[in-house]
């Protein structure tokens, strides 16, 4: 029973990180209808920026996260301006290849600057606490709380502010949004900014319980894709729900099925879903 609770808690931690990454991916998909294959690379760059800010610049953990958000968000905006905007009328295959190009570049660049070694990020919240018979580190607790907080802020921003409403409007209907006078370029940039910042937050929260290395974005990206297909491409509640579902499935699968094959669970899940429903669960009818 203890193991079960512990694993459920681990699933909640994992799911929080997945949800944050998937949220960024789904926002961009909603606006531009491109799967951003470079999102995993943004996640990875965020990890290195936070790490460097903490070790080299000696910044406080929270300040490092803020810097990381700004840098990665800026990088994402730059990507939108320089690559995705010129490609907006190109066939769908071009966006994907361009994004893969950016991803390869960022990975090689990071490896060039920081080396290929695995690095650890020590967070100031390493203490172990005991909550209701479950032992856990403060960091894991922090991940769960911070994620909920970020989601709440994002929800408030999208639903209650005018700027947020423009993002929703544009994801619902691009031409329509343009017709009523929404500056679609600005909204696209804003969306990329948020998406990059979310990736930076996710990695900064998750890195202390994982490792930082150039290839760290691969698995996360692929899993985030699984999540947004699970939750419906472009759907925000779907990305959150999908993230937690995958988190729980993985942590329980690792305990009760096989630890070796735990990374396979997500992909098998996706293959099953797409086999049964080729357009993903909760796909909007027609197109």
């Amino acid at each position: 029973m203890d193991i079960l609770i512990q694993q459920l808690f681990n699933g909640l931690t994992l799911g929080s990180v997945y949800s944050l990454v998937a949220l960024g991916l789904t926002l961009v998909y909603g606006i531009l209808h491109i799967p951003n294959f470079a999102h995993g690379a943004l996640y990875m760059v965020g990890g290195y920026i936070t790490l460097t800010m903490m070790t080299q610049a000696g910044l406080n953990y929270w300040l490092a996260i803020v810097v990381s958000c700004v840098v990665v968000g800026g990088l994402a905006v730059l990507m939108e301006r320089l690559v995705f905007h010129p490609l907006r009328h190109a066939p769908a295959i071009h966006d994907k290849i361009a994004a893969i190009g950016i991803m390869l570049f960022l990975e090689a660049l990071v490896q060039f600057i920081w080396g290929a070694d695995y690095q650890t990020m020590t967070s100031p919240y390493g203490a172990v606490v005991n909550v209701a018979g479950v032992t856990l580190t403060m960091q894991r607790l922090l991940i769960i709380i911070a994620t909920v907080l970020v989601m709440a802020i994002l929800y408030f921003f999208l639903k209650k502010t005018f700027t947020g409403a423009t993002i929703i409007a544009m994801s619902q209907n691009r031409e329509g949004a343009n017709l009523v006078g929404i500056n679609t370029n600005r909204v696209a940039m804003l969306t990329f900014l948020i998406s990059g910042a979310l990736a930076a937050i996710a990695v900064s929260l998750a890195a202390p319980i994982n490792l930082v290395f150039p290839g760290m974005g691969h698995l996360v990206l692929t899993k985030a894709f699984v999540i947004i297909i699970l939750g419906g491409m472009g759907s925000i509640p779907g990305a959150i729900a999908g993230g937690y579902i995958l988190g729980f499935t993985e942590s329980l699968g690792a305990t009760y099925i096989s630890n070796d094959y735990k990374d396979l669970i997500a992909f098998v899940l996706l293959v099953l879903i797409l086999t049964i429903k080729p357009n993903g669960l909760f796909a909007k009818g027609g197109h």
Partner: protein, 341 residues
């Protein structure tokens, strides 16, 4: 007619160069590099038919490459089968797996297809990596035999291997040429341009997509099998997503959806990589942005770019001739009217 002869001459010229290449150099290393480049070209042709001509970007290509390589290796080392029998079986195994994956994955479209195949690629990689008892896991497989003799032909030397791989490459190019210029090839292009339209005019899109997917995996498997017996040891890394990205880079640089693209792209990148050896792992710092820039400015790569350029020049020439003729006829009429006046 002149252009056909010219093209034909060019092709003959390049084949000749490829044939005499081992005599031009005594450097075994160069021959090794070229043989590897040829192997990659075969894999790139497979991806080209699927992504370039049919418009379905498969990110599981390295996975099928690895399946071909591992099938051959396991059949020869663990089952101790005759080499060529294992070779044929490896191709069949890869194609059958390709058929199964294709049956399901081709129900999805565009982004979903890319993501689906990305996941299939990961599954193949992870299974190879974790299935220790069969594949040797992270240690990989060693002692893979080089191709067995066919009658008097032996494949023990690098040069002999070079010719064997060249033979398969030329066969691949011939098959691709025939496919692309056949009705089937046109059908693939029709599907790429508009799947709905293709379906409306009576093309069975699923059958054709499945066909192209299986052909594509077949060539990935062929390249993999050749790779395994050429390098003679393999690890799970050959199935990793980075290999797919390498293959994709060769294709994009050379020209996606062109017949000469895979050769041009692979040769250029392999040789540039050789020159930039000191960059090693950082070579993507150069090729990554090139990939992105090419897709934005020259979506059909070097081959496509050159083709478009010559077409434009021809068009301009034709317009100039037209203009000259118009001017001549205009002068004639004005001269005639002057006479009358």
């Amino acid at each position: 007619m002149a252009t056909i002869f010219k093209q034909r001459n060019m092709i003959a010229f390049f084949i000749l160069i490829a044939l005499v290449f081992p005599f031009l150099t005594n450097n075994n290393y160069l021959i090794h590099v070229m043989t590897l480049a040829f192997i990659w070209m075969i894999a790139v042709y497979g991806l080209n038919l699927l992504a370039g001509y049919t418009g379905y970007l498969s990110l599981a290509h390295a996975g099928f490459f690895a399946i071909g390589a591992y099938s051959l290796s396991l059949l020869t080392t663990k089952a101790e089968m005759n080499y060529w029998l294992a070779f044929v079986l490896a191709l069949i195994i890869t194609s059958v797996l390709g058929l199964l994956v294709g049956l399901i994955s081709l129900r999805t479209k565009e982004h979903f297809f890319a993501i689906y195949t990305l996941c299939v690629g990961y599954i193949i990689y992870l299974v190879i990596d974790k299935w220790d008892s069969l594949t040797g896991g992270i240690r990989g497989l060693i002692g893979i035999p080089s191709p067995a003799n066919i009658g008097p032909l032996t494949f023990n030397t690098p040069v002999a291997n070079y010719y064997l791989v060249l033979f398969f490459l030329l066969l691949t190019i011939l098959i691709m040429y025939r496919i692309v210029h056949s009705l089937t090839g046109r059908t693939f292009i029709a599907i790429r341009n508009s799947e709905d339209l293709a379906q409306t005019i009576g093309i069975s899109t699923m059958t054709n997509k499945l066909l192209v997917f299986v052909i594509s995996t077949f060539f990935a498997g062929l390249a993999g099998a050749l790779y395994a017996s050429f390098i003679r040891f393999i690890g799970p890394d050959i199935g990793y997503i980075n290999v797919t990205f390498d293959i994709l880079t060769y294709l994009i640089v050379g020209g996606i959806g062109t017949l000469s693209g895979p050769i041009v792209g692979t040769i250029i990148i392999v040789w540039v990589s050789q020159q930039l050896q000191f960059l090693q792992d950082y070579r993507m710092m150069i090729f990554g942005p090139i990939l992105t820039l090419l897709v934005i400015f020259y979506p059909r790569g070097i081959s496509g770019g050159i083709y478009d350029w010559t077409m434009k020049r021809k068009e301009k020439k034709r317009q100039n001739i037209d203009k000259n003729q118009q001017m001549i006829s205009a002068q004639e009429t004005s001269a005639a009217s002057n006479k009358n006046g």
